[in-house]
């Protein structure tokens, strides 16, 4: 975090020096821009195996299984009957997924604006059941405070944010 502040300060200093020469409308600042997905991408829920864990975001235990959310990507299911050797039995790819719960062999997970229902009564072979569309709000701003590129719904649904240098940023949090 300190690094970010340092970089921002540096950018601002650089800006202060160069602003005399440059047009004020073209100010640059470090911030975030939306990553968009189309409706088609969002519906791309897939059952896979042997998917590497990238950015673990949530942990969950269900019976002798350990479930780990991979931020924005989906959910890994590990057979944890031997905690000394958890073994991945499946990966449920759910675009934008951040959280989930399980009851009676059924998994409920967020898929950006939708609630997805997956039958995991056989955890090694999950079966997509259904989804309830448009229950959650679309992301309008990043988690972090500061400048960001305003969301343009015409470009799709926001599934995440990436750090970038913004020119003439109009949105701030």
């Amino acid at each position: 975090m300190k690094k970010t502040i340092g970089l921002t300060t540096l950018l601002f200093s650089a800006l202060a020096i160069t602003s005399c020469e440059k047009n004020k409308d073209k100010e640059t600042v470090e911030g975030y821009k939306p990553i968009y997905a189309t409706a088609e991408d969002l519906n791309n829920i897939e059952m896979r195996k042997d998917e590497p864990l990238e950015n673990p975001g949530r942990i969950y235990t269900y019976e002798h299984y350990l479930l780990v959310n991979d931020e924005s990507k989906g959910i890994h299911i590990y057979d944890n009957s031997n905690p000394a050797n958890p073994a991945e039995v499946s990966f449920i790819a759910i675009p934008g997924n951040m959280d989930f719960s399980v009851r009676q062999g059924v998994l409920y997970a967020d898929n950006i604006t939708d609630l997805v229902i997956v039958d995991i009564s056989q955890p090694a072979s999950p079966v997509y059941v259904n989804k309830i569309p448009h229950v959650f709000p679309a992301q309008q701003f990043p988690d972090q405070f500061g400048a960001f590129e305003c969301v343009d719904p015409a470009k799709g649904v926001v599934i995440g944010w990436e750090k970038t240098t913004l020119t003439d940023a109009k949105c701030y949090k």
Binding site: M1, P56, R58, L66, L67, V68, Q104, V106, Y108, V129
Partner: protein, 261 residues
């Protein structure tokens, strides 16, 4: 006179409607108790935004508490979407209550009517991120300041919630980079606190007026913990997921590690 008659009729209609609604709720409750024994649901960490309580799924996004009926597991029905204002972060169910961590404090909702969560109290604090968990009469929350959360305070707060309408803060400890927190299932006087890059910290809270840091694992960068029924402690870190044998809650013995790439 006519107006009076209309009022009377409307009142009658409303009471009939209420009666029907009540009957429906009772029927649901009955169904719930009859199926309860066969039900299994899982356990999440303190940073969770989804929580299952009996036949209901509760979720929070940054501004809304959603209530879904999941009695027919593959056909959830959204019953309510309650606007809680902005800065909503985590949800933790305990003893018929929902503890909701927000950027301005902790809110407690009563769910004796599971379809209709009612706010019973709130303990406000400075702007920060704060997961909250509870066990019996004790609730613990961590407050994290910084760019994502606002504010600049980093601490652990312990509350007495025996009077649920008037929670009172009993103790506070300074932290460095706090995230999730959890009670030990082996010994409820032990809590595990994820202090980010400052490591996993283990506190003894048996004396609430003098909670004590009794052990730490500075090499971890923990984000959340689950203390499970089989004496395991599962620790989520950015580097991957650790599992410890926590039979002795102070002496964690590493059993496995799932690394992230």
């Amino acid at each position: 006179m006519k107006t009076f008659k209309n009022y009377f009729l409307s009142a009658l209609c409303i009471s009939v409607l209420i009666a029907c609604e009540k009957e429906k709720t009772n029927a649901d409750t009955e169904q719930m108790s009859s199926t309860k024994s066969a039900v299994s649901s899982g356990q999440g960490g303190s940073m969770a935004q989804f929580a299952v309580v009996n036949e209901y799924l509760y979720t929070v996004d940054y501004k809304t508490l959603h209530v879904f009926l999941i009695s027919d597991p593959k056909n959830p029905i959204e019953l309510e979407a309650i606007d809680l204002g902005v800065g909503i972060e985590t949800i933790h169910p305990q003893d018929g209550k929902l503890f909701i961590g927000t950027q301005s404090g902790v809110r407690i909702y009563d769910i004796s009517n599971p379809r209709n969560p009612v706010e019973v109290s709130e303990f406000q604090h400075v702007t920060s991120c704060d997961p909250v968990v509870a066990n019996g009469n004790i609730a613990v929350a961590t407050l994290r300041g910084g760019t994502e959360c606002g504010g600049n305070l980093n601490e652990l707060d312990v509350f007495d919630i025996s009077d649920i309408e008037n929670p009172t803060m009993l103790a506070t400890q300074e932290l460095i980079n706090p995230y999730g927190v959890g009670f030990s299932k082996v010994n409820e006087n032990i809590i595990y606190v994820c202090d980010g890059y400052a490591g996993l910290k283990i506190y003894d809270i048996s004396n609430l007026l003098a909670i004590e840091l009794i052990a730490e694992l500075p090499s971890l960068e923990p984000i959340d913990v689950i203390s499970s029924d089989n004496n395991l402690l599962i620790v989520l870190t950015a580097a991957g997921v650790y599992q410890f044998d926590a039979t002795d809650p102070l002496n964690l013995v590493e059993k496995s590690f799932i690394p992230s790439i």
